[in-house]
Symmetry: C2
Subunit: 337 residues, 2 copies
Amino acid sequence: MVSLKDIASKCNVSVATVSKALNDHSDIGAETKARIRRTARELGYVPNAAAKSMKTNRTHNLGVLFMDDANSGLQHDFFASVLESFKKEVEKEGYDITFISNDRNSPGRTSYLTHARYRRFDGVIIANVHFDDPEVVELVKSDIPVVTIDHIYNDTTTILSDNVDGIKTLVDFVVENGHKDIAYIHGADSSVTRTRLVTFNKQLEEHGITVPDEYIQESPYRDTHGAYEKTLELLDLPNRPTCIFYPDDYAAYGGMRAVMEKGLKVPDDVSVVGFDGIKVARHIRPRLTTYRQDTDGLGTQAAKNLIDLIERPKTTLIKQIVVKGKLLEGDTLKKLN
Amino acid sequence: MVSLKDIASKCNVSVATVSKALNDHSDIGAETKARIRRTARELGYVPNAAAKSMKTNRTHNLGVLFMDDANSGLQHDFFASVLESFKKEVEKEGYDITFISNDRNSPGRTSYLTHARYRRFDGVIIANVHFDDPEVVELVKSDIPVVTIDHIYNDTTTILSDNVDGIKTLVDFVVENGHKDIAYIHGADSSVTRTRLVTFNKQLEEHGITVPDEYIQESPYRDTHGAYEKTLELLDLPNRPTCIFYPDDYAAYGGMRAVMEKGLKVPDDVSVVGFDGIKVARHIRPRLTTYRQDTDGLGTQAAKNLIDLIERPKTTLIKQIVVKGKLLEGDTLKKLN
DNA sequence: TCTATTCACTTAAACGTTTGCGTTGGTTTT
DNA sequence: AAAACCAACGCAAACGTTTAAGTGAATAGA
């Protein structure tokens, strides 16, 4: 590999001069600069990121930490979308991204923080993990700039999907379409789940609608089978709901299956409402009525804020940024009026 | 950050001794070793990957290059699955993965190869790109160990999905179920597409079935709308096919939509066959009959072979590895006999 | 008793950069 | 004509490691 030294000797200048020339310092003559740059190109010089980072204490490399319960990793539609946008945005600023390995039982494994330190990441984005995992907490509390997605810590910038707006929008839309008997199969307990559930109840109250206890069920996120079973229960109720909310789009598909197997129709007999806006849902009939999270906004905001935190720590505040999504009308909600 | 030097001065030994102790060299006394390791732990020492890589010329970091036509990046179900398995496997051996940025029009961008050299990746995995892109070719021809997915170059190890087995399996299954009028909407031209198409024709010939020209149509991969339109054309034929093959599962959903909108039923009037086995398809009714590519096998094989190439170049052959998938029976194929 | 050998460590160079400070020689100021 | 300045470059240290070669003392072999 050709290094500064090679260029230096070929140009009869010192290594320092070459470095300065390539970094466009002002104390190198225009002519020398041009000559050095030309030979650098001719020799196919590529700087060495490792060497550079040793001197500058900056790697221009960001760590990515994420993993959900189902261990679906990259296949998690929502997160993959957020990450994709994040990646594009940071690349614009010259950053790369590297995964912080999350295989908890590999032989030589180290903690998340140790891994991040080993690679000297300039910053880290965290999403979709167990946020109360001690290792995650340790990473968050460290001096490494961190941005989290969808979970609030003290002293950490967070990018949040607007769950309040999401549920409000859906509730309003469903009620406007004449529904009064609305059930909610919500996800496993978490701050996001609580926010959604509280908003659900509150917003229905606004409309003067009270929800019977048996209409509120729990089933894990992204679990079609769990949603399927809970839906069967709901359908067996004497006062069957006319509309069912699901924790996410996957679950909604599980629910729709239950409805069909009962010999009922979506949306004629039971209306179905999802949450997320997974891409594939646009391609499948009936199109799911759901709230689409702005994954692009989430990823972009996360990127911008993380880079600000890294490059302009003095003037950057820790903050929480809420990103609104939007209603996606499909064919799974019946107009009752 | 605490370095070897800090440990050395605290233990009253030289830096070299510390390095050797931590790397378990044989020429350090057992007692000293223990003392050094203890203080390293106490001080919270974390090695510096950059410094290490400067000396060893190994980064234990692998580059990932991929991007499909639709620019869907990480959201590409198939590739995300392969990558996930790849990631898990390489992590076992202590490697990290970093994306080679693929935004072709960002300001300070460099070629794929330059990026890979800049980060000094030990190896690179390539998938889902335009394989005849000069930049990709340049990367492949370089001295960096490379493994490609689903595309054969000379002198490059490739992991291939078994398209021949896939199409054969599907054709056999469909024919066994009594179908004789089988159409194929295939993907855009590529070696994979050609393999599938040739196998399709050949295998039907084996069964004594000839396919009319108008049964063979082309539509881009993962394009539901294109598949939708081509399906409409097929359905309007006087000799309507009883079964339609699609380039992939997404396209199949587009096709199913066309069938339904024509007032026909899947599979009663028209049977539908996909390719890929995307995860979400298992959760949606009717379940798609398709050929599931073994993404886990592909990713794992890619990882193992790339690491072999890196760590044991003398004893590792460039080879092509074919990974079989398997038939996934769903509800979209009608038994005609 | 003298010479090899082994053990346990140290020395020092090297990897490829960046950067504060110094050193030139030449050009302006007073 | 002396003092002051500037433009253009070199010196050398430093970042945190690894490793070949060297050193001194203890042990073993003859």
